[in-house]
Symmetry: C2
Subunit: 276 residues, 2 copies
């Protein structure tokens, strides 16, 4: 029976031209390759090389065999990769979310419900999330609205309300509520990883400049050491506590309060059943 290690040696010989080079690359001695190629010819029952005194060259049979060899070896490699990938996928739950706070809650719940699974999330816009859910990239997603679709299962997943975090000396800091337009034009600190929440300030406060901080630590430091207003949400405060030295004023615009929905495919429900 021909074996893969022989095909590997054949392919290496074809690739490097001489037995010596191939042996070096394969970390084998060169006589080993001589014997292997002889054995290969015997097993094919056909000459694969032109045997000269001190030169071994592929003939047409050998070329064809080597061509097949690399194809077979590639397929073997693919098999290993795909099976491992399939296994990894079966031990992994991938979530996509529109915002970080429900993502964290989902992560916690999933880690608890499926202690043997690896869990990951990533933030995308809503259309990308739905597409990813339907093509199998995500087992579940978090949307800021109730989804439609016969193929979908969904469950309410909490609400979140945006608020201003104002320095105590800010003229509006003692209000019980504010509309976004009331701060339009003021420059604000903004944390980068807030998902779909980017849309609302950009839309309702077109005259403001947003100083986006992608580093969490830098963001909180700047909030404490500057008088620039920033944002916070009720849900974030439940996780991290209220920002220090700030007055939190809820935003009254209706779009500033969203209800989250965890969504999965009906046909994929079994993989995340404990979360629904």
């Amino acid at each position: 029976m021909i074996e893969l290690f022989q095909l590997e040696q054949l392919a290496a010989f074809r690739k490097h031209g001489t037995l010596s080079k191939a042996a070096e690359v394969l970390h084998l001695s060169q006589p080993t390759l001589t014997r292997s190629m002889q054995k290969l010819e015997a097993e094919f029952g056909v000459s694969l090389f032109r045997h000269a005194k001190n030169k071994l060259e592929f003939n047409e049979n050998g070329e064809l065999a080597a061509e097949y060899a690399v194809r077979i070896l590639n397929q073997t490699r693919d098999m290993l990769e795909l099976v491992r990938a399939k296994d990894r996928a079966s031990h992994t739950l991938s979530f996509g979310t529109c915002a970080p706070v429900p993502a964290l809650i989902l992560l916690q719940n999933a880690a608890q419900a499926y202690p043997n699974m690896a869990v990951s999330t990533e933030s995308k816009d809503n259309e990308t999330l739905l597409a990813g859910l339907r093509n199998g990239e995500y087992q579940a997603i978090i949307l800021p609205y109730q989804p439609e679709g016969q193929d979908l299962c969904w469950k309410e997943y909490g609400t979140e309300t945006l608020a201003f975090a104002l320095p105590p000396g800010h003229p509006l800091a003692n209000r019980d509520g504010l509309y976004m337009r009331e701060l339009d034009g003021e420059n604000m600190l903004l944390y980068a990883d807030i998902g779909f929440w980017h849309e609302l300030p950009a839309q309702k406060m077109p005259h403001s400049r947003f100083l986006v901080q992608s580093d969490r630590f830098a963001f909180t430091e700047l909030v404490q050491s500057s008088v620039l207003p920033s944002f916070v949400t009720d849900a974030a405060m439940r996780l991290y506590g209220p920002p220090e030295n700030r007055k939190v004023v809820p935003i009254l615009d209706p779009e500033a309060t969203v209800a989250y929905y965890a969504v999965c495919l009906k046909q994929g429900l079994h993989r995340v059943k404990r979360l629904f």
Copy 2:
């Protein structure tokens, strides 16, 4: 490294359902398969089966792996077959001919010019011969006319003239030449393997019945022991000698004399160069 014998075992297990059955088919002991499957799982780094106490079933990973295994094994089998076929083809010259006599001459010449090659011929009609030449089925063909085509090489390959072989008492036996219509209506003995020569008598002697003999011995016996006229050619007589107890009268119709041409593809000339 995963090896083909392991994939063979995996495929057999998948095919037969239990290790015992697979072991029986593979002529191996059953513990061998237990160990092989364990080793396979270790090499994949992934579980391929559901392990019950006395039951071993494929899981999804295993199904995928087995699927790939059969594909790889098939490809390996194909490789062996194709390389062997290519080798066989490179040691074989296949000729197609329109008639047996030039075929024999070609065979003799080829066997002498290429003593290490296997040589074969078969008779077909002219269109089939040209098609077979162009698709690689034949390395050379014999046609009864000069071929046309930019892709072709040709060489004259002798002539052959048809004659009547008449019993001495036949009323026309002492003639120096005859036209075919002069014997139209007489029943004649005809050897089966005469290639394109079948066409001429059927066309020129529509009122004759031809007693076709496919066995060479039966044909020559009947020629000697009957008074039925038969055919012979000058070229055949050079090979086999004249028919016993017969008067040979050449046929004067111009179609009864043909010139043969050995034909090959220009791109295939190197394989039959010594014949051209």
